[in-house]
Each structure stands twice: as structure tokens, then as C-alpha cells.
Amino acid sequence: MEDKVIEVNFGPQHPSTHGVLRIKVKLDGEIIVDAQPVIGYLHRNAEKLAEMGGYPKGMIYIDRLDYVAALNMELGYVLAVESLMDVQVPERAQWIRMMMVELNREASHLIWLGTHGLDMGMLTPFFYCFRERERILRIFDEITGSRLLYNYFAIGGVYSDITPKAMDMIREWTEDFIPKLEEIQSILGKSYIYVSRTKGVGVLTREDVLSYGVTGPMQRASGINRDVRKDSPYLYYDKINFDVPTRTEGDVYARFLVRIEEMRQSARIVRQILDKLPAGDHYNKKYSKPMLVRLKATGEAYVPTESPKGEFGIHLIGDGSSIPYRVRIRSPSFANLSSIPTMLKGYKIADLTAAVSSIDPVFGEVDR
């Protein structure tokens, strides 16, 4: 019998692609010989759009990159603009930003955990995760007024202060989130089917990770201990105690464990911020709204931040006018997704959904 390689199309409309990913898979029987991802179905050129309006206007497009962690995206842009223009931000605003970003990281990881369970054929963790995420979204609703796309961080601070009611909601949430997380972890981690479908699947070695520029939880699951929050601290991450979880296996199960541990650490950070939150202004009064549209800048700045998916960076180049000359977005999912050919080669077709969902791609960010 001769070898027969058949080509199978996966996506772009498929429930376990987490958006619009298309993969051209070449199969020899059940074994994946080659997998080539095709992207661009959600492309709207956010970089060009951000170059068409003033500095504050870019925010609405940056918001829509990683739409499940919009505050993390906003933070990257705001920090880049502030370091380009030497804007001073009040201490309270920085602490609020840090707390909001960690809450959003939590929400993003919860949505990943729920849909990852769904891809593995388990419906229960989906409901548990979305119940917890709903509580975080209600906190955001109370503070910012929206549930998904916030436009909350402004150049020089944040748009509104945290209300006492929101403080109570966050404190209540931090108290009973950890037992709930343990419950969700045990549903997946103690399931024989889940563990046997994820252990040793979609392995990326240390060399692959460095070669593809993979960042975030995926690189930490492959044994590289690197986190922008620890290595080059922005905001006040140097005044907070937290650990960076790492594993060395580099498979889907290791990524699951790393993300779960990251959620524990985020809750720990939020708890510390609640105790440390200083009083004061929530924005720099020099940068009021009429002032914002007249902001001008020259020079360039690249600011890396740690988004839930990896290193998110904005490279801004100003030419002296009130419109940015070039906005370059470093989106972590784009680089993480490019490792698919290496990650899938040699595994069975049934491992494809497990491996792809362990990347946690969000296509607003991949396609920009």
C-alpha cells in the first residue's frame, strides 16, 4: 500500500478555533504531517486607523485588539504615550490601573479555561468559569460603566475613581475566588480523560519557544522564566509580592497549570493592592479633556507590558504634530500562533483542538 496524504481544511468558522483561524492540515491517516495556519479574516488595520487621529483617539482601536482583556491593551498604549510625552501620573491612578489590569487578566484566563474545557469535551467548567467572570464584569460595570470595552485609562490617569461599593465588591470577590478556582481546577485536573488528552501533547521545546518569539504563559510552560512584570517592572509591580509560575514540560497540561497558578497570583496581587491603595487624585489635572487633543510629541518609545497572552508592546513614533506618525503593535498571539506548524507536527488530528486552544489566541489581536 502506498502512502496517501490527504489535505483537510479546518476553519475558519469552527467552534474550537476561538475566532476565525483557518488551518490547512495535511494528514497521513490520523497523523498530522503538516499544518499551515491562514489568518487575516478579522483584519482591519488598527495600526493605520490609530495613525489617523490624535493620541487619545488611538485608544478606541487599541481597546478592540484583545477584546477579552481590553484594559491590558489600553495600559500598553497609555504607558507608551505617557513615556513619549513625559506625563506624570498620580500614585493612586497607577495603583488603580494595576488592580484593574490584574482583574482583567483574571477574566481573560477564566474565559480561556472555560472554552478550553469545552474544546476538551467538558461542559461543566465553562459554566463555573463564566459565573466567576461575570462577577468581575460586574465590578468593571460598577467602576467604568461598561462590561467589555472600557476606554477607562486616560493619558494622565483613569477616567473615574473607584467607588466604595466597588471596593466592597472586589474585597468580597478576592475572599471567595480561590476556593472556587480550586473547584474548577479539580474538575479538569482530576479528570483522567482530560489529563491523558493533554499530557505530552503540543510540546514546544525551549529552543522552539526562543526561535518563534513565543511569550507569556506558553514560554513559562516551556521552562523560560520570563515575565515583563518582574524583569522590567512598570507601574508598581516592584512593590508587590508575587511569584512567576514555571513548568518545564512544555505541553498543553503544563500551560493549563501555569495559567491556573497565574490566576492565584493575580488574586494575591489584587488583595495586596486593596491594602496599599493610597488616597489622592485619580488623574493628572494638567491633562484635562480639552488639553488631550492638543498633545504633541517627537521622538519614539517602545513600552513592553505583560498581557494575559504574553508580551504586548506599543512602539510609538511622533513627528511633532498631534497625530502619531507610526503606531506599531507587538501582539503576543501573533507570534504564539506562528508556532503552530512545529506544535502540531507528528500528533494526531484529535490533538489539534487541544493544542490550538492552549495557545489562547484572540483574533482581534492576531489580525489587528
Binding site: G40, N45, Y212, G213, Y302, G313, F334, S339
Partner: protein, 151 residues
């Protein structure tokens, strides 16, 4: 040692070096050996009179960052032989800014449809001119300026 043309830094203190276009591949491979083992991204900037390619490097041993820039008229050497991740970044730079990468294994558009006219991140790209993408019967995308073509 490969000579650098000039040296500066960004507002937040990341080192920026300019390297001649011919030296970009040997310079980056020298830097890779010095410990800059991660290529974060490749981007292109259109300065109207010339184009620039930017390489963001990160070292995982001592956590230092470096931005390498080179001036070009539209073509530079590909660095896919050094980093596998450069593949997609170079395709994106070709797609959106229109910079060709010599010896790239598969230099096709990645975000836009194959056959798209122009490169959107060029400053002279006509924003008012609309292009429509249709899926042809053979499964490939076709681009046209006529809205009704293909229906």
C-alpha cells in the same frame, strides 16, 4: 565586529542602533550569539523619502533590549535563517509596508488577500479607493475594485 552607523535611545531608555542594509544579517547573527536570543518583532516605517526596517531584540539571559534599524529603498535580507518566528513578521511587513525580504521562503501577503493593490501603511496609500475581496470557486481570494464582480 560589524560597524554601526549611529546610536541613540528611545524616550524610555531602550538602545537604538542603525546598521547599514548590507550588514543586517551578519549583525543580527552576531547579536544572537551575544545573547539576544528572542526576536520580538520586525516592523517597517515609511518616512516618505526612505523606508526603515526595525528589529526588536530581547535577551533572555540578562533581560536587555535592543532595537536595530536599517534604512532601505525596499529590499533587505531575510533573517528567517536565524529565527523561525521572523517568517510571519517579514510577511506582515511585506504585506502592509511593502518591503521585500531577499531569500524569504514564502513571501506572500498574510493579513490581506493575495492580489491586493498597494501597501496600506505607506503614507501615500489612497484611503478613499475601496477594494473588494471575493472568494472564487477554486477557494482562492480575488480582489477587485468593482463591488459586484464575482456575484
Amino acid at each position: 565586529m560589524i560597524p554601526i552607523e549611529s546610536e541613540s535611545s528611545t524616550k524610555n531608555g531602550i538602545k537604538v542602533v542603525y546598521v547599514a542594509k548590507e550588514n543586517i544579517l551578519p549583525f543580527l547573527s552576531e547579536k544572537k550569539q551575544e545573547g539576544y536570543d528572542t526576536l520580538l518583532m520586525i516592523s517597517g516605517v515609511d518616512y516618505r523619502d526612505h523606508l526603515e526596517v526595525l528589529y526588536h531584540l530581547l535577551s533572555s539571559t540578562n533581560n536587555s533590549r535592543l532595537i536595530v534599524k536599517t534604512k532601505t529603498d525596499g529590499e533587505v535580507d531575510s533573517v528567517t535563517s536565524l529565527w523561525k518566528g521572523a517568517d510571519w513578521h517579514e510577511r506582515e511587513t511585506w504585506d502592509l509596508v511593502g518591503i521585500r525580504f531577499k531569500n524569504h521562503p514564502n513571501l506572500k501577503r498574510i493579513l490581506l488577500a493575495e492580489g491586493w493593490v498597494g501597501h496600506p501603511l505607506r503614507k501615500d496609500y489612497p484611503m478613499a479607493k475601496k477594494q473588494y475581496v471575493n472568494l472564487a470557486d477554486n477557494g482562492e481570494d480575488t480582489v477587485s475594485f468593482d463591488k459586484m464582480e464575482g456575484y
